[in-house]
């Protein structure tokens, strides 16, 4: 029987336009905020924060699978943005630059966490396939009336597979780009992507 997938209504914390992402106004255009922030204007930097925090938090949340950790990573991203704002040359859109910065912060934190716990992401993901099924050792996504929230299912993925799925299927990165920023082989990334999709398919049909 074909799978029937019904998406749960978006939880309160998810919105297309977030509470903190304010609309642009002519008098407060982004390039002006960047110029002022570069000169040390923290209030101008707050304007940039308000515009981009939802996007940054989304990537941090989905890649880390943890809301508290995502908040920390979001803060780290903006502190780093403040410190590196001088190096932004405008060759790409500011949003793309900020997005890439967030990805780098998350990946660096993941590498640090792996070193700290003396575990490697791939080895951690290798729990898949052990006794108890593909979700062995992981938090199974909760189901309510047979409807599964995709956010929760993504959060429950193994870390390596989750990051690749988020970057490829949600954020639209190509495998070669992901390979470059993660340092992993494309073949490994493809395997993790397929694993993530398989696990999500199973979660969404429960």
């Amino acid at each position: 029987m074909p799978a029937t997938v019904t998406r749960r209504p978006a939880p309160p914390f998810v919105s297309e336009t977030t509470r903190q992402d304010g609309p642009a106004t002519p008098a407060d255009d982004e390039s002006g905020l960047v110029d002022r922030a570069r000169r040390g204007d923290v209030d101008a930097f707050e304007g940039l924060y308000r515009r981009h925090v939802g996007r940054v938090f989304a990537i941090c949340l989905r890649m880390s699978g943890d809301r508290i950790r995502a908040a920390e990573l979001t803060q780290d991203t903006f502190v780093r943005l403040w410190e590196r704002l001088e190096s932004f040359r405008g060759e790409s859109a500011l949003s793309s630059w900020i997005h890439r910065m967030a990805v780098n912060v998350v990946l660096a934190a993941a590498r640090s966490d792996n070193r700290r716990t003396a575990r490697v992401g791939l080895a951690e993901d290798d729990r898949d396939g052990e006794d108890g099924g593909p979700w062995e050792g992981m938090v199974r996504p909760e189901s309510t009336d047979e409807r599964i929230d995709l956010e929760a299912a993504i959060a429950a993925l193994p870390p390596g597979a989750r990051r690749v799925f988020v970057l490829h299927d949600i954020e639209g990165y190509r495998h070669e780009e992901i390979a470059r920023i993660t340092g992993n082989a494309e073949g490994t990334l493809r395997a993790q992507l397929h694993r993530a999709r398989k696990l999500l398919m199973e979660a969404l049909t429960r």
Binding site: P2, A3, V5, R7, A10, F13, V14, S15, E16, T17, T18, R19, Q20, D21, V42, F45, E46, Y49, R50, V53, G54, R55, F57, A58, L61, R62, R67, A70, A71, E72, T74, Q75, F78, V79, W82, E83, S112, R115, R116, T117, A118, L150, E151, F165, D169, I170, G172, R190, A191, L193, H194, R197, K198, L200, M201, L204, T205
Partner: protein, 255 residues
């Protein structure tokens, strides 16, 4: 193209087919199989459904709380603070784990163990101590310290190198701090005569307290290497020490 033991297309092949990245021969073979296999067609639809749902996810998600105060506090913390800055507000509430105006107020309020709370209290004291030392240096700079005395060697220089087994990931970070501290201490020691004995005593007393806090954080981290709060606590201790030494060294060079 790969197939499973039961002859159906593998999840890898279905995924690559959906992504359009199969080579021409493989794509042709997969298409032929799909045409004849309802099971694999359903599986392909499920793969495509997941891909479509992922692509349709909201690009923006609002955090549970406003994170800006923590970002701003961290930005301000990394800036140079004027000598003799008021310390009362910075010390904050050690009991609740909140340092007013600090990123910690967002990160580490809840879920602290008793030991971590004790360490945080120590950190709050450090802020007061360090600020007192800086105030003493500032007084010296205004001309209160005119005696050219040579004080005792600052104790505690080896506090950060006690033989405990820190997490591997932190050793490189600590080595960086140790190098910086050694350079600053050498610079300060070379110019101790420019400071009054009272100021030297204040600075040395502050360094001793900071070193004690560093030693305690190191021991705690060695016993609980996965504890992020302890990592941050140890880092804060080193930051405090570097900041104090740097400003003392800068001050003596200007006298």
């Amino acid at each position: 193209m790969t197939t499973r033991d039961d002859g159906h297309l593998s999840i890898e092949t279905l995924g690559d087919y959906a992504d359009g990245v199969l080579g021409t021969p493989e794509r042709g073979a997969a298409a032929t199989h799909l045409e004849a296999c309802p099971s694999c067609r359903r599986e392909l639809e499920r793969v495509r459904e997941v891909i479509a749902m992922a692509a349709a996810m909201p690009a923006s998600v609002a955090p549970d709380a406003d994170l800006w105060p923590g970002v701003r506090a961290e930005i301000e913390r990394r800036r140079v603070v004027p000598l003799g800055a008021a310390h009362g507000a910075e010390a904050g509430n050690a009991e609740t784990g909140e340092r007013v105006g600090s990123i910690w107020s967002v990160r580490f309020v809840a879920g602290w163990t008793r030991r971590e709370r004790v360490l945080l209290a120590v950190a709050a004291v450090l802020l007061v101590v360090a600020t007192s030392a800086l105030a003493a240096i500032a007084r010296d700079r205004r001309g209160n310290g005119t005696q050219m005395a040579r004080g005792p060697e600052a104790p505690g220089a080896v506090a950060g190198t006690a033989p405990v087994a820190l997490p591997v990931a932190y050793r490189a970070i600590e080595a960086d701090y140790q190098r910086t501290i050694a350079e600053l201490r050498a610079s300060l020691d070379a110019q101790r005569g420019a400071l009054s004995p009272a100021t030297i005593a204040t600075v040395d007393r502050s360094l001793r307290i900071i070193d004690d806090a560093i030693a305690e954080a190191r021991t705690a981290l060695a016993n609980d290497p996965g504890n992020r709060a302890l990592v941050d606590m140890l880092t804060a201790g080193y930051e405090q020490k570097v900041d104090l030494l740097r400003r003392a060294a800068e001050h003596t060079s200007k006298i």
